[in-house]
Symmetry: C2
Subunit: 432 residues, 2 copies
C-alpha cells in the first residue's frame, strides 16, 4: 500500500475526539437527567430497519430518497434509520399486550439522512425522541411540551432565548371550515394552500384561495388569525375540540409558570397528513438565527401500521443534536470548564520501583479520584508538560527521597503550590 | 394499507425496551466509571466509513464479506463499521500533530457484522474499545490488561470466574526460531502451522511440521510450551525482547496483586499478521461456557495506513456487549434491583385543580426526586395498579381534604404504610 487513505470522515459525519465527546456527554447528560427525573424511560432500537416501515409512514419516494438503503444478501431492502418514530411504533405494537399505558419514553439514537449538508444539517446526527403513548388528552401534550422547556432551561436558556410556538390541528381544520364556510373536501384544499403560504408569492396564495371560492374578506380573516392570541383565536370556533384543547393547555401553562416560554401561533402546521392535535415548534430567538429548532405534536395511531384496529395515540417531538448545539453556542450556554474535575498524574522517576507508582494510583482510583501514572520514561519537565496539556489538575511526585520518607509531594497545577503530604492526606484534599 | 408490517426487529438486531435499556445503561455505566477514573478519554466516530479502511487492514475479501456495504449516490463504497480500530487509527492519523501522546482512549460504539447469528454473536452489537497509543513499552500493555481486570471485578467477578491468558508475539516468533532452528522464512511457515494447531487433526499438524523439516523431538518441545509457566517458557530464549516484555509484565502483575487473574498461555496467538507484541484473551471459567470472551494486544503502526512514515504503536482490546452480558448472567452478576431508586407517582382526583398536581410534581423534581403525575382520569385503584406495575416506590395522594388541610398522604408501596405529611416532610423522607 503506497497510496495513503484519507483521514477525513465521510461527508456529513463527524469524528468525536475526547474534547468533543466530553461536550456530547454533558449535552446528553443534561437531557437524561431532566427526563429521568420526570420518570421518562429510555429505550433504543436497531440502526437498520426494513425500508417498508419508513415507506408506510412517509411514502415510498421520500423513504427511498431520504435514506441510505440497500439490499441484504437475502434480498431484504434495509434502511439506516432516518428517524425513530417508525421504530418506536413497531416496538410499542410488538408488546402492546404487555406494556402498561400511558408510556413515557425517550431515546437518543444516532441516525442517517441522505441529504445536502448545510449549517444545522448533517448526514449523521443524534436525535432526542420524547413520546407519550396511550394518553389522549391535553395533559400528555402539556407534559411533552414541559419536558422540552425543562431541557432548555436546564442548559441555562431563558425566555429571551427561545419560544415554544403552539397550534392545534383540530382547531386549524375547524376554524378554516368556519371561515371558508364550505364543504369538508374544499376545506381540506384550503388547508393545503394555507400550509404553503410562506413558500409561495402572496399573489398566487390569494389566487389559489379565490379559485377555491373564498372572497377577500375571508382571506383577510385568515390573515388576522396569525396575529391573534389563543383567547381571540379559539373564540372563532368556541365549540371545537381543538379550541378546548388549546384553552386547557394554555390555562395549565399559565398556572404552572410556563406561559412565559409559549405563544399561540397559527403559522405552526407541520406535516399535514401526520399530526392530528396539538402541534408545536421551539424557536431560537437569536436575531441571526431566528428559526424553528425542533418540534412535534400529537399523532394518532402510528401503531396501526403494525397491528390491525390498534388505537394508541402518541404525542412527542424529536430534537436534533446539531441544531441544539448551534443554539447553545449562539447563546453562550456551553460551560468553559466542561469535565474539569480533579485529575491527578503520578509522575515517574527511575529510582523508584514502578509498582510503587502503580499501587499509589490504584489507591487513588479506589478513592474515586481520576488518576494515571505517567506512561513512559521522559524527563520530569516533559511529564509536567504532558499533565498541563492533558488537563490534569494535580501532580503527585514520588522520588527516592519521598519514598524513603513515606510521603508524597503534591503540586496543584493551577496555583503551582507544592506540599509534602502523606498519601491519605493528599486523598482527603483531592476529594474536597 | 391492509397488509400489516412486521413488529420483529431485523434479524440479528435487538429492541431495547426500558427494562433492557436500564440493563445497558448500568452495563456501560460500570465500564465508563472504571475507565474514566483511570483517566481514559472517551471518543466516537461515524457509523459509516469508506470500505477502503477495512480492506486496507483485513483484505478486500474479508472486508466485503463481513460488512454491510453499498455505494452512495456519488459512487463511494461505504461500509457500516464492523469494528472500531480503523476509525480510531484514522482519527489519530488525522490529528497526529495536535494530540499529546501517549493517548488513553476508549469508545463504546454500535457496529454491524454480516454473519450467521448464534449465541454470543449478533449482527448489531456494541463493543467497548480500549487503546493506548504512543507508548512502546510493557507499561501500556499492563495498563490495558489492568483496565480489563478492573472492569470485570467492578461487575463483581472474581478470579474463579475469569482468567486473562497472556502470550507475546515477539517471544512466540523467537522461541519458534530457536526450537525449529531454521531460517526466518521457514520459521514463519512453522508459525502458521502452529496457529492452526487446534483447527486441524493432530496427525496433519505433525505432518505439516515434519514437511517443514522439524523432527519429533522438536515437535515435542513445542508441545511442552503449552504446559509451561512464564519463567520456564522465557528461559528457552532469555535474550528475546519478547521474553523481557513477558517477564516485566508478569513481574508487575505479581507486585500489584493482579497475578491471580492471569496466566501465561502459549496457545494465545490471535491474528498472525496483525499483532506484534503482547497478546491476551479473557476467558470465561464457567465449565459450560469455557471460552475466550474477548481479547487484544499490541499492534504496530496501524496509523501508517493513513500517514507516510508514521510510527505510532498501539495496544488495546475490544469487548462485545453480547458476550459480556452472557458472562454476567452465567455468573449471576446482574443485580436484581437495577434502576430501583425512589420513584413517586402523584395520583389524581377530579376535585383538585390539575395545576396543583403539576406544581407538586415540579417541586419533587426540583428536589431531584424521580416523579410523575398520573396521566389520565382512571379510578384511584387503577392508578395504584399502574404505579405498582411501573416500578413506582411511593404514591403521593392529594384529595380535596388534603388540599384544604395543606398536607399530602404518602404511601410506601413496599411496606403499604401510609402517612400524612407536609410536602416538605415527604421530600425529606424521600431524599433519604
Amino acid at each position: 500500500m503506497s497510496e495513503k487513505l484519507s483521514t477525513q470522515p465521510y461527508k456529513g459525519t463527524r469524528d468525536f475526539y475526547p474534547q468533543d465527546m466530553r461536550l456530547r456527554n454533558w449535552f446528553f447528560g443534561v437531557i437524561r437527567n431532566v427526563l429521568e427525573t420526570s420518570a421518562f424511560d429510555e429505550y433504543n432500537g436497531p440502526m437498520l430497519e426494513s425500508l417498508d416501515i419508513y415507506a408506510a409512514k412517509s411514502g415510498e419516494e421520500i423513504a427511498n430518497k431520504q435514506t441510505y438503503n440497500f439490499l441484504d444478501r437475502a434480498d431484504r431492502r434495509l434502511a439506516i434509520r432516518p428517524e425513530m418514530t417508525p421504530t418506536v411504533a413497531r416496538m410499542v405494537a410488538g408488546k402492546m399486550g404487555e406494556l402498561t399505558f400511558p408510556l413515557k419514553w425517550f431515546s437518543i439514537p444516532n441516525m442517517y439522512r441522505y441529504e445536502a449538508t448545510q449549517r444545522g444539517r448533517l448526514r449523521e446526527f443524534w436525535q432526542l425522541n420524547v413520546d407519550i403513548f396511550g394518553c389522549d388528552t391535553y395533559e400528555a401534550d402539556l407534559e411533552v411540551i414541559e419536558s422540552a422547556i425543562r431541557i432548555m432551561t436546564a442548559y441555562g436558556a431563558d425566555e429571551s432565548m427561545f419560544t415554544v410556538r403552539i397550534n392545534n390541528r383540530r382547531f386549524f381544520n375547524d376554524v378554516i371550515a368556519v371561515i371558508a364556510n364550505t364543504d369538508a373536501d374544499t376545506a381540506k384544499k384550503v388547508s393545503k394552500v394555507i400550509d404553503r403560504k410562506n413558500k409561495v408569492p402572496r399573489e398566487s396564495y390569494e389566487r389559489d384561495l379565490i379559485d377555491l371560492g373564498l372572497d377577500e374578506e375571508q382571506i383577510e380573516r385568515i390573515d388576522e388569525l396569525y396575529k391573534m392570541n389563543v383567547t381571540e383565536a379559539t373564540a372563532l370556533c368556541p365549540d371545537s375540540q381543538g379550541s378546548q384543547e388549546l384553552r386547557d393547555l394554555f390555562d395549565a401553562l399559565e398556572k404552572t409558570g410556563l406561559a412565559k416560554y409559549c405563544v399561540f401561533d397559527f403559522g405552526i402546521i407541520r406535516g399535514l397528513d401526520y399530526y392530528t392535535g396539538t402541534v408545536f415548534e421551539v424557536f431560537d430567538n437569536a436575531p441571526e438565527n431566528n428559526r424553528a429548532m425542533f418540534g412535534g405534536g400529537r399523532y394518532d395511531n402510528l401503531v396501526g401500521l403494525f397491528v390491525k384496529n390498534a388505537k394508541i395515540s402518541g404525542v412527542g417531538y424529536g430534537m436534533g443534536d446539531v441544531t441544539l448545539e448551534n443554539f447553545l453556542y449562539t447563546h453562550n450556554l456551553v460551560p468553559e470548564t466542561l469535565g474539569a474535575g480533579v485529575k491527578v498524574l503520578v509522575t515517574r522517576f527511575g529510582d523508584v520501583p514502578y509498582e510503587h507508582y502503580l499501587n499509589t494510583v490504584d489507591t487513588l482510583r479506589r478513592a474515586g479520584i481520576v488518576s494515571s501514572v505517567y506512561l513512559g520514561t521522559k524527563k520530569f519537565g516533559k511529564q509536567i508538560d504532558f499533565a498541563v496539556k492533558e488537563g490534569y489538575t494535580h501532580v503527585i511526585i514520588i522520588g527516592g527521597d519521598e519514598l524513603a520518607r513515606g510521603i508524597v509531594k503534591m503540586k496543584d497545577l493551577s496555583t503551582r503550590e507544592e506540599r509534602e503530604l502523606t498519601l491519605d492526606e493528599a486523598i482527603e484534599i483531592l476529594k474536597k
